[in-house]
Amino acid sequence: MKDDGILSPDVARVLNLLGLLAMIGVLAGAYVYQFTYRELPCTLCQLQRLAMVAVAFGAAMNVTLGPHPRHYGVILVSAVFGAAISFRQSLLHINPFFNTDTGQPTLLDTSNPPFGQPVWGLHLYVWGIVLFSAVILAVGIAQLFRGQYAAVVPGRDRLGRFAVIAVAILFVTASAETVTTFLECGLADCPNDGSWNWWFLRG
């Protein structure tokens, strides 16, 4: 495919590497938040993290194997899934006069408190909407430049070492999420109150 001169395969891979690192950074920030405030993620929060790792995986495919529409497809499907979860959780808490336990409206504005502490004025599930919308927008803009799909010349793989490191970071992050999720949920459904599954972690 003809290179349009603006977004070469190498530049696209660097941008995907930056996107991957940004996504890993958000997940690391979620861990800092989790252990600072001692608030375990709820089921919907875990699902948003799952979508973030999947988005990072699509970016890692672009970095490792070269830009391809299928890899961007993985990013898009994951981002749409994450955005749906974020919208769902935001809508759950959008009305403070709605008691989610009884499913009835109330006169108390404390019957439907937001989940967790806000970060820079917004709760994490609202940041999720911003994040996944930005990912969808970025992928849409990236599709305007078809030169990135040009075949990479053999022997010019200048990102090789970075690509290996990026996938290694992704693997470590996904493994850490697996371990902490196992500690919180075991192999069954996750508790919605954010408590550890194992007795020796409760305290």
Binding site: L50, L65, V77, D189
Partner: protein
């Protein structure tokens, strides 16, 4: 189930490390598990129905 979904992503990352192009299939399997968890989590009868 959530643990299994994350484990699928970890295995997919390992396969991508080995440059296996079909590793994305495991990611889609994890997302499908996520959709199942999401649908189970929503109490359609008493919650979503009233809100809509």
């Amino acid at each position: 189930m959530m643990t299994i979904a994350f484990a699928l992503l970890a295995v997919a990352s390992l396969l991508l490390w080995l440059r296996l192009r079909w590793s994305w299939v495991l990611v889609f399997a994890a997302l499908i598990l996520g959709i199942v968890i999401f649908v189970q989590d929503v109490d359609f009868a008493t919650n979503l129905g009233i809100q809509l």
